[in-house]
């Protein structure tokens, strides 16, 4: 059995490997027949492929979330890699058919992230915030360490939610060091909980979609209510200043009403959280695009960065000639 991954194959190589079906859109070709537009994935990345003249049975079999054995050839289409499919069949039970084997995941292990997080929680010296944070991390432990931070755009991989949270925490620690007088426990508590509502807004790490509560309420409202419930269970007055400040951190973290925060930041620490969240997500989106871009070229236009493209400088300092 071949164990090479998708991006171990070069253009024009014949391929034979197990992959996860991440997306499977059924469309109709101009000749009137149906085809399936696949997105295949493994831990080396994602790639597209078209399956022409699909029968109703094919459509039923090859759904998103299934693992398949794929034979084909790697090609290039409009500067993007794609696969020409020769043959496709479902993986059997005897084969590596578990979808989680094919998911991209955070560059750090769950254990390492847990350990780092524990150290920061230790610095949350306010007992109310400390207890709320611990309570909610315990309740949503599984989701926090397995969910992506978004459906697409940035940190859209298993464990992305925890990894995004930790990156912001590191930046927050630097900010605390640079500006004396900040309320570090408040800032850290806000960072840890700011996106926890995604546990309820998104469906999970595989074939991620928005849940109905996610669509109708959004992760900001969903986590606010989790905090008040935590206050209830822990005997903390939800209208006390401690509770209000922490809730404000989460509720305002999108920064602008237009981005879905019902109030704008009115605490120094809330404004900082908003900036750091934005910075980390931006760097993640740019890096993801630059990784696939050759020196002297521009990335594709990035939707989450207002449609801008980014230049990757040449390494020898020579200027790319206009094409």
């Amino acid at each position: 059995m071949e164990t090479k991954k998708i991006f171990d194959y070069q253009v024009d190589d014949n391929m034979a490997l197990f992959v996860l079906i991440k997306g499977a859109d059924v469309r109709i070709a101009k000749n009137g027949k149906k085809f399936i537009a696949f997105t295949f994935a493994d831990r080396s990345g994602e790639i597209s492929a078209k399956f022409w003249d699909a029968s109703e049975q094919d459509i039923e079999l090859f759904e998103a979330g299934k693992v398949v054995f794929l034979q084909g050839k790697r090609e290039t289409y409009q500067q993007n890699p794609q696969i020409k499919i020769y043959k496709l069949r479902l993986a059997t039970e005897m084969e590596p058919a578990d979808p989680s084997l094919y998911l991209q995941s955070a560059p750090e292990s769950t254990q390492d992230m847990e350990k780092e997080l524990d150290e920061v929680i230790f610095e949350i010296t306010n007992p109310n915030w400390n207890r709320i944070v611990r309570y909610l991390l315990k309740k949503y432990h599984a989701q926090f360490f397995s969910f992506p931070a978004a459906k697409k755009n940035h940190h859209d991989f298993a464990g992305g939610l925890a990894f995004h949270t930790l990156s912001i925490l590191h930046l927050a620690q630097s900010v605390v060091k640079e500006y004396p007088g900040l309320n570090a426990p408040l800032l850290y508590s806000g960072v840890i909980l700011h996106d926890l509502g995604k546990s309820l807004e998104l469906s999970g790490p595989v074939a991620t979609v928005y849940t109905v509560p996610g669509n109708l309420l959004g992760h900001i409202v969903l986590v606010d209510e989790e905090i008040t419930e935590a206050c209830d269970k822990l005997g903390i007055d939800k209208m006390s200043q401690d509770a209000i400040l922490l809730r404000h951190m989460i509720v305002s973290h999108h920064g602008l009403l237009e981005y879905g925060s019902p109030v704008r930041p009115h605490l120094l620490e809330a404004e900082i959280l908003h900036h750091l969240d934005d910075l980390d997500a931006s760097i993640m989106m740019m890096n993801k695009a630059l990784d696939h871009t050759a020196p002297g070229e521009y990335t594709e236009r990035i939707f989450g960065m207002d449609g801008r493209n980014f230049y990757r400088p040449t390494e020898d300092g020579s200027l790319a000639k206009p094409e």
Copy 2:
């Protein structure tokens, strides 16, 4: 004792009456001395007055919320009524010194409003919504029937919150009649609870200001959490469709993210609630301004209507000449 009210006096009349100090701003005149810019109120309306050369003792005595005996003369300043103060003293305990005697209030009695409301609740045939609505109206009964619907702009009088809610309910009933197939229980429940969070966002009917939770969380988040708490107490699953739909009604009722709703309406009934809320508030603001405007003139520019002024037509159909 004189029982005439503020607006029973005509321009140039000498006045002597009890009034409530609704606002008392201390400023410094160009001659370097302090003066108090008063807003006096009774049930006939509000009027301004300046108190020149105020001593520190005057400033301490004549605070917002106090009832005073006022002697002066009604004048006009830049087309607005104002009072020239001759004499001012606090009301004694023997006199009508209770502020609530001077508050403007809803044009309907609390009993009438309660009765009307009860009839509508009878039409909320979904048991979950019915119980949540009853639970919260009971919990916030006092506030619901005494609070204003806003700090200023519209329904800024005692009982304004209940009165605003009922006006929208009446419109909602007409809409239900006009468009078959609407979910009337959902619409009515949403209407009743949509502004209940103002009970927590505002400080009360007299000298109304925003509370800290009101500023940092806003009434939309504050009431959402009350609904989930109600679910908890009533044994209703807060993640059930019933709970999510009702919460969505409230959470989306400002219509646009820019207006502080964390999500836009994604239910037919939520979109309708937003329209009716807007319509009732607009009519209230325009009527309030038109009430003080002579035929053939324009109202002042109304802040809450994007700074527009409104024309009050002459009664005989003649066109006002340009001034």
Copy 3:
């Protein structure tokens, strides 16, 4: 002869019926050959179909506005119904070839609408407005009761203009009842005339397009001039307050300059007309989309509602699982 309508057929049923060609776009397939993208319609609704390898003669024959006899099969494509065409020919003179037999129309008969309208006109007690309204309704009687209210989006069916007008009138009557002191004759006159300019802006009920005057002047300007002409014919001074107020109602009814009103509403009744027009159009658009949406699903994104989609709740209260 088969008398079943389009939506009487289920998916995979063979079909044989007369339909109206509502749209017929000629495109080129990737194989280099032409095809026609049809929209077929009858009173049960509209459906798409592709006609592959179309000859020049086919293109000439099968134009929008023609009635054809269609044989094919009902299918589903990307969750939308569509037809696979087996055979197509023009209807002959002996057959039901009159396009008006296939137009969707208002859910109320013209007589009923006329009667309702007459009753409201009776309440327009101002003689000038009453005469102008009667004059213009008489002049544009045919168009008023047969035109759609828009080219697409809302009330885009025969009689839609009258039906939309009546729905707003009903809401206006409720508002008049709720808020004492409104100028009901002005409001009703404004409602009746507000969209009458569409008689000149649009080409008619079948294969509706914008006329050149519609494109270059718009229905607001077109109807304003009709009112001044009516004044002329009826001996009413077009610069009298009555005329100016009525014209303002129409001219400002889009509410915002950005939406094509050259002035914003500066009359209480004009502001109300704007709100009710918006509300009725919104409900119509949402209902049209929800009608084709299964419980537990979202509608398509509605262009006229800022691209939002709307959730249709399940009937048993269970929450749809994320797909």
Copy 4:
């Protein structure tokens, strides 16, 4: 009798001269007494002055539109010229009491402007447009040559409307010469009529205010209806292409819906008219402000130019030092 004009006096000069009261706002001073904030004008310009401790009789006497004999001293207040009033009385009938003697007016005589206009009309070779233009210029001859082009901002002087129109006509002639193929008769007709509605929107050259029709309909709608009436009188079909094109020129000339045009330009000549109108108004506003600005200084912020200020360069090329 003194014949010096306002700006013939230098700072600290004693003044004694007749002036027109252009504005007279009654306000209340911090000492509780009324004062009048005057704007005095003659053909040399406008200047402010405060009249302290005004009696009710003073207020009644010294209204906008009256001519007064003023004694005082020229001073400077916050870098703007102002007058300290010593004495003020109404001009008697024996004195130069006609307000028109004090109005600023166009730098060209009415005769000259008429003659120039006639020459351009000669170039309007399309008979329909020629007749409509002549008809309306005849009907509004008095207003066209005496009204300002705006209440303030630009061309706010007697004859400003005609002068603004002619400036644009000159630019239009240059554009016609530069770009072959333009429809010159259409462009010239549009230029001549574009602001004629100001004859109805504004009250006149002295103490200019908006009329009620001006406020409720705006000059664009008001002139459109004049054109259709002209068509009527002249036997031109108002729905002919000629009439529609001309009306589109006027109706679209503000360029953007946000600026009050109900449709945007969809004719080449309409787009050009919009640009030239904008250019002439901008130059007028900048020049008006620069005229009162010393070399090396900035003008005040100009409201009609988005609040920008403009630099007047030094004449010797030296750079003004930062203050």
Copy 5:
């Protein structure tokens, strides 16, 4: 050898001619095979064509910038002209294979434009501006007279930069004549240099793309630095008023920050330059679209004019019937 040009052929004519490949996008058809979407050009204009089933060798051969001998048929597709390709081969060295033979170019010869420009430079009486303008025109002479003024939209032909500059100069001369007191030398200098930075921002007249400095700095910054360098070489103080004023003209000429000017115009002449630049570009875009539009029809929507389409009136004054 055939010497007819592309638009000398009518629809359905067989064609055989040399053309330049202006664009050659490789795409994949729904049948899975590659095709090339060509834009062919000669001095009569541009036209599209699809080359089906393209081999890798075809793709390599038929690149943008190459001259080919084309055999095919002129057709119409969605109201746009296109070519059905029968045969295609590269032009040989013996044939007219020089791309510059096929480029559209300015309607005026370089000599004529140079002469006109020289005359205007003569009017730049300020010696500093005169020397800077001459210096830079000399340095960038080749580019100024051969580059387009933009990659697409307006003046996108060889020599477009010079032609656009001269058109604005002509308008500027008319403005100088109309408004006495303008600083003509400053205005003319600003006009001449305003787009010179395009010499560095764009790659050249054929297959025009943005250079890396063009993308990362933009033509405004690129030319500003050229002016300061010119000051250096010519011994002019780059912080003198003369230098600052000239640089401000260029730096502010996009008018709004949103359009890429780092400062808005704060000189009368800078504001005028912005208006004239905008006017000339707009006329060019509209004329380009109207040239391909039949009387009684609308142009396509023009991207650079906010997506508006423009009506081309019929010549006999009849109104086009709604389609």
Copy 6:
């Protein structure tokens, strides 16, 4: 000689001390007499005071930039501290009359900042960037270490430019540590030069105003040209990739065109610089306002933070009661 500073005095204390006149606006009181609205400053902060009945001589003497001996009393006016002036005279030469003694300055010494900066420059391993940075820091050494970073809002104190730059550098170092693969030399070079143009845009540390070049070109354009000049002097090709990248860092650092960057960031490091600049300025503005705010209160509305106010929590966790 008194050595207490302004804020060493409590409310109602009599004061006698030397202060710097930071602002001196002459206004006219309602009694018609002139007064001076002073802003006095020393290293403890700034405070307002009104000087009533000012003579022309007073106005001439007491200009901004002068040091005076002030006798008065500290008071409170609308919650802001102010001084009631008893007596005022200019400081003599024998007294501490040097304005720089009264300027607020960076919390770090110039030496310390220089040393820190040197260490970072050491990490700029690219020789071109290293040389440009050193060249410009040497040329503008005095300004870099003495100028404020802005006229008001943030870092508006002597040395603010260097201090702001260093704060961003520290954040940049943390970011470099967190995200492997960043181009640290490019980021650091960009940070150091990003605001250096303020040396030319502003007039200096005392009585800071914008220079004419600052107004007409802005600091972004001013520094870009300094970099190209540096390239010239150092023999670095200004169109090389190194030069273009560095210039792009500076030119794009405002992030949005609306904020005055002629291009948006198209390099990962440029986007990061923009975020960190924004974050540091925001924290500085919030901290400045919070420093003057009591626990449980809100700051004034901060112009540079979109007019938001910020809550300073109480220290004991109790919630401030609504006033």
